[in-house]
């Protein structure tokens, strides 16, 4: 066998240069990626779920969906056909910090797709029958989602970590209770308040040779009302610190979904790079400690992961695995032990080197396509990053030191505040939970 090879000289890589411009009073971010057959045209709107009143959780997702359900004289079906006839695929989503809607489309159809996008953003009708159906579909979808134990676990953790009136206590897509209560007028009011020129940015990524980029901007922004009230201040308070356990009892489950977590910092913190590098070692790569322990050493799970979800206004640290029911308690012990160990002792220089080289090295792989570059530009918009953000981030990753990483291990991980969630058959493990020192145990029965 040939000897292990050395790498060649790296070809320089930088995040694609992008252009910021103001067209017809609207903001645009564009990146020219030559040679790509497909392009993306999308709107990133400051209408994330975190801005919703908690009692109207899920309204932003409903707005995102209703946008493509009839606009500018086309009904829902006709709008679908109009995009699909030019090979355009509609994508809409709402996360905590933004609403994103748009098309992936053959580059030659950018103008037509952007016109459809403008129609959806500015002229969607939000008729009663459409809203009724979209709401019902969404409620049914949640009931399907909630039949998956992993979804139940995430929801239980969110509501255990944050105060009831905090928006983070409910899922970003809302829940059936808030959606049932939602009035059509609420939905239209939210649309009018958040879907407007000064809250939106048009992102266009692809081979823009011969594309009149300003014309795309005018299509979307010209004559679009730019006035509106400022967004309300998000309510995201965590609950009081301290360990506790929430069990969602599902008799007959052959696995337990186990999670351990606590509230965490927002994206903008100074030690973001050190903290997320730490998370890679703990649970962000195949070779991470959680996966090596629970999967590769014990065989308890198909995989085990953990890390920080850093949102604009707050965040969550969580570790998770789906483990065979019989080993629920030992798996919890192992998960806790790994979190406590890295909190106490930090990571080794070998682990740091592995995490650093992976995270810095994977940028060219992660940003090779139009979709991922467009998503990156969306993050630039949401978090107000500078033009050189991704290249500067990569440089910081390569520079982060063992001391910096281990400092965040002791401050950002808080083993004493871990909330444990177990979704599984409680009869197999409930009695032993008390002895683990994970805090008071509450058992909820899954209603399905």
């Amino acid at each position: 066998m040939t000897a292990r090879p050395e790498p060649g000289a790296p070809r320089p890589w930088t995040f694609p240069t992008f252009d910021r411009r103001l067209v017809a009073g609207g903001r645009m971010l564009t990146a020219h990626l030559p040679g790509r057959a497909l392009a993306v045209t999308s709107l990133v709107v400051d209408a994330g779920a975190v801005l919703e009143p908690s009692a109207q959780a899920g309204v932003s997702e409903i707005v995102a969906r209703a946008m493509s359900e009839g606009a500018a004289g086309r009904d829902s079906y006709e709008f679908g056909v109009a995009g699909e006839r030019i090979g355009a695929t509609w994508r809409s989503s709402t996360d905590w910090d933004s609403l994103r809607v748009g098309f992936e489309v053959p580059a030659g159809e950018l103008a037509a797709a952007t016109q459809l996008l403008a129609d959806a953003a500015r002229s969607a009708e939000f008729a009663d029958d459409v809203l009724e159906r979209v709401l019902d579909e969404r409620i049914d979808e949640i009931s399907l989602d909630r039949s998956q134990p992993a979804v139940l676990a995430s929801e239980a953790l969110g509501s255990a970590l944050f105060q009831a009136e905090s928006r983070y206590a409910k899922p970003d897509g809302g829940d059936p209770e808030t959606l049932e209560a939602l009035q059509h007028a609420d939905i239209r009011r939210y649309r009018d308040a958040r879907l407007r020129r000064d809250a939106a940015t048009l992102v266009v990524v692809g081979d823009l040779d011969g594309v009149d980029v300003d014309a795309l901007g005018r299509t979307v922004f010209e004559g679009w009302d730019g006035d509106g009230s400022a967004a309300s201040t998000p309510v995201v308070q965590p609950r009081d610190a301290g360990r506790r356990v929430v069990v969602v009892d599902r008799p007959g489950s052959v696995q337990s979904v186990v999670m351990m977590g606590h509230d965490g910092p927002a994206r903008a913190v100074d030690d973001y790079v050190a903290m997320t590098t730490l998370a890679l070692v703990l649970g962000g790569m195949f070779s991470s400690r959680l996966n090596m322990k629970l999967r590769e050493e014990k065989g308890y799970a198909y995989g085990a992961f953990g890390g920080f979800d850093t949102r604009k206004h707050g965040g969550v640290f969580a570790a998770r695995a789906a483990v065979q029911s019989e080993v629920t308690v030992p798996a919890l012990e192992d998960m806790l032990a790994e979190i406590e160990r890295v909190h106490r002792d930090g990571v080794t220089s070998e682990e740091l080197e592995q995490a650093r080289s992976y995270r810095a090295g994977v940028f060219p792989v992660n940003f090779a396509g139009v979709g991922s570059v467009a998503a990156g530009l969306g993050d630039v918009i949401v978090h107000g990053f500078e033009d050189d953000h991704f290249d500067a981030l990569r440089a910081k990753i390569l520079d982060v030191t063992l001391d910096e990483v281990n400092a965040t291990a002791s401050t950002r991980l808080r083993p004493d505040d871990l909330v444990t969630v177990v979704v599984g058959d409680a009869s197999g493990f409930a009695k032993e939970l008390d002895a683990l020192g994970l805090g008071p145990v509450e058992i909820i029965t899954d209603e399905q």
Binding site: P5, P7, G8, G252, S287, A301, A322
Partner: protein, 438 residues
């Protein structure tokens, strides 16, 4: 309309077969400094023997446990440290392994693949097997046994293919067979199927073709060929089922859901291409027949972008499958009846505009699939392994775009008929309490 999407790319590639039989495919793409390394072994769950179902997939896991010069756990660690991503998957007709790397690490990817192609047995031991057996059993629990509708896939295989056909069992296999797998089975499986002359290596991205072939020669060239392989189990099967097969499962599910599966001519056939168009006309996208009728107009089922799909199997016959999840309060019988009516209606009238829409979507889906170097490498190997020539990738879309309305009608008429379908229905189980109350 379609003319506006007409600049279909042709993918340049070079093929080269090493003396030991390894097929090498290289395609340059200098847009980004990344390269995809992808290997398909011509072995999948179709090649498994009775009592050893799930073995091809379990074995795939063992391929990540180290080899002659790679310590346990080091395979993932080396690719990650290079800034690469990686995985492997197993399906009925093949097993694939792949990594996407910054292009200056190409040699590392090739070396790792060569080391486990030629030297797995030096690292394979009972501990690895026992550990990965438990991991795979948990994979099965996580993706099947502890999931609503999780048994659907396995049941469709059982119902649509007769006992004795190699697609009668699904890739994940049974817990019983996984428990029965022994180290000697793993060694024998490796010695039987894992050899350069049963594999295809694709290298796509920021590479020089001649250098890539030289690297392949350097790392793989000394691995001995095997020369011959056992005849895989026969895939002979009647082209149609010949009757309707129905099964209803009471399970812990939130809403009723029906899967309707039809036996279809295999991947690479004219009927398969026609069904690609038919599935999009019927159930692909918001402008499809089923979406308009069942989701928008009658509001009987949950929205889905892909209601119907055809699997790419080559073993005698493949399956076209419709996935119909009922809306809350809708009886599954009503949804199923409306569905069959829509399928029948397709035979009455097919508007040329519907073909335009379907072909435009199929074009952009294909471009999306092949946009990344890893997607392209995998597709080259798919055509090389299943159809014998990676260049057929360049014919795939033109073939689909040439399908006529009459061919769509003919394929639907032949495939989507009552005596050629399996209807598998899930309904929420009635609990003991509800039964007592009733």
């Amino acid at each position: 309309m379609l003319a506006r999407v007409s600049t279909l790319p042709t993918y340049d590639l070079r093929t080269h077969t090493l003396d030991n039989g390894l097929k090498v495919i290289v395609s340059e793409d200098r847009l980004a400094p990344v390269v995809a390394v992808n290997i398909w072994y011509d072995v999948g769950s179709r090649h498994e023997t009775l009592g050893r179902t799930g073995f091809a997939h379990l074995f795939e896991h063992l391929m990540f446990q180290g080899s002659a010069n790679v310590a346990r756990g080091e395979h993932f660690a080396l690719v990650n440290a290079a800034g690469g991503t990686l995985n492997g998957t197993t399906w009925c007709d093949r097993t694939n392994y792949y990594e996407t790397l910054p292009s200056h690490h190409l040699a590392t990817g090739l070396w790792l693949e060569a080391d486990r192609m030629g030297g797995l047995l030096e690292a394979l031991d009972q501990d690895n097997l026992d550990n990965q057996r438990e991991v795979v059993k948990n994979e099965k629990r996580q993706t099947r046994d502890n999931q609503p509708y999780g048994s659907a896939l396995d049941l469709l295989h059982e119902l649509a293919y007769p006992a004795g056909h190699p697609y009668h069992h699904s890739t994940i296999g049974s817990m019983h067979d996984l428990d029965a797998a022994e180290l000697v089975d793993a060694r024998s499986f490796y010695s039987t199927w894992y050899a350069p002359d049963n594999a295809s290596l694709a290298i796509v991205g920021d590479v020089d073709t001649a250098e890539a072939i030289a690297l392949a020669e350097r790392f793989f060239g000394s691995i001995p060929s095997k020369g011959s392989f056992p005849e895989p189990p026969s895939t002979q099967i009647a082209p149609r089922i010949g009757k309707e097969i129905r099964k209803t499962v009471q399970d812990r599910v939130p809403v009723p859901r029906a899967f309707v599966a039809y036996r279809t001519a295999p991947f690479g056939s004219a009927e398969y291409d026609a069904m690609q168009v038919a599935t999009v006309v019927l159930g692909g996208g918001r402008g499809s027949r089923l979406y308009k009728s069942l989701v928008l107009d009658q509001q009987l089922m949950q929205p889905s972008d892909g209601i119907v799909e055809t699997w790419p199997f080559i073993g005698g016959a493949t399956l076209t499958i419709s996935d119909l999840a009922a809306r809350e309060g809708v009886a599954i019988e009503r949804l199923e009846t409306a569905y069959h009516q829509e399928v029948a209606r397709l035979l009455d009238n097919l508007d040329p505009d519907e073909l335009v829409r379907a072909k435009a979507l199929l074009t952009s889906h294909w471009l999306h699939h092949l946009a990344s170097v890893d997607g392209r490498a995998d597709t080259f190997n798919q055509y090389a392994t299943l159809l014998g020539d990676p260049r057929l990738v360049n014919d795939a879309l033109p073939n689909v775009l040439a399908v006529t309305a009459e061919q769509v009608r003919e394929a639907v008429d032949q495939v989507m008929r009552p005596d050629n379908r399996v209807v598998l229905t899930f309904v929420p189980a009635v609990s003991d309490e509800q039964e007592a109350a009733a």
